[in-house]
Symmetry: C2
Subunit: 176 residues, 2 copies
DNA sequence: GTTTGCATGTAAACGGTTACATGATTGG
DNA sequence: CCAATCATGTAACCGTTTACATGCAAAC
């Protein structure tokens, strides 16, 4: 899903600034599936405005930079729905950690251990972030997505804990 | 992980042509985590050759196009190890399906049902592909990675089957 | 006094995909 | 006869990231 469509989706729930959209990406429990940087959000928002899919209202603020509050237009809703009705591409899960584990036998044992520990810590952090946000969720879709993220993290953690010894033992004995 | 590094990794297990590298990506049970197109593999291989990280041997074939068999050089092994010792970026899991489910309430009910069915079918197909390849795996790393893919798919399937009704029921009743 | 949060934006660089070009052989 | 497999490569395009630019206020 491109940033354009993601912005439309978020705006379909209510108006927001570019800054707030980014924050929603990062905090709302589905950061595992969706993310984007300011460098892609702001240009996307400008293009959507040009195309009439969103509208802007500028708010001057005292002691704060001006903010541009974006709202989705009827044309924007139509375009968003059309995007959701198009054929949906497959998932892509890029995991540099998993890639490294494929070559654990080339790595010093303590490097493997450290990588696994760090990965477990990360996953647990995300899990507890999800748990915190959980009660706030209103829509069935949100609960579904967040629940799925939770299920995936839990399955990964369970698997890693059960099988880490198999790769740690076989890792290269010493650093060169 | 960029295509460059992925190519080095595959060549660290033995020589291969660009075509074979792509096939390994697609078939070896970790296609969920790693993929690349010819358009990125061939240029990467050429650049690696220029840099002395891999070497090429050209094989003329009768009744088949010539093939270029690539091997990793000692410098290539060093560079690959160095890449594995660098800080490892976080996973990114892009799921257009999950994104669509976030907005299931905007979609006609049968669209949601079809998307879920298709996603389940895809996941099951990957699971059985993994099961087929399973017995061939030799290294502990490979078994770990493939096992992790399996664990993830199983967890997703279980979750979707248990919770699909919640979003199907709340989907938009009729198409407009 | 430094970091974090608020707030927007641009430009260059990067990495990758898609489509195109070529062409013979084998299997269904 | 058509599709798939083997086999390599280029070029245009696309979307995104990264770094840069700016700046004040509040919290620690």
């Amino acid at each position: 899903m491109d940033v354009r469509t993601i912005c439309l989706g978020i705006l379909s729930r209510g108006e927001a600034t570019g800054y707030e959209i980014k924050k929603l990406f990062d905090e709302d429990g589905y950061q595992h599936f969706i993310e984007a940087s300011f460098g892609s959000i702001y240009p996307a928002l400008n293009r959507l405005t040009e195309e009439g899919l969103v509208s802007v209202r500028e708010e001057a603020q005292e002691k704060r930079p001006d903010r541009k509050v974006y709202s989705i237009t009827p044309a924007g809703r139509t375009a968003f729905l059309a995007a959701l009705m198009k054929p949906i591409p497959e998932d892509r899960h890029r995991s540099p950690f998993v890639f490294a584990m494929l070559f654990s036998h080339l790595l010093p044992q303590d490097r493997v251990t450290r990588l696994i520990d760090a990965y477990i810590d990360q996953s647990e952090a995300k899990l507890s972030q999800i748990a915190e946000k959980r009660p706030e969720l209103k829509s069935a879709g949100e609960r579904f997505v967040v629940g799925m993220g939770q299920a995936i993290y839990e399955a990964m953690l369970k698997f890693i804990r059960a099988h880490r010894a198999e790769i740690e033992e076989r890792a290269a004995e010493a650093a060169e």
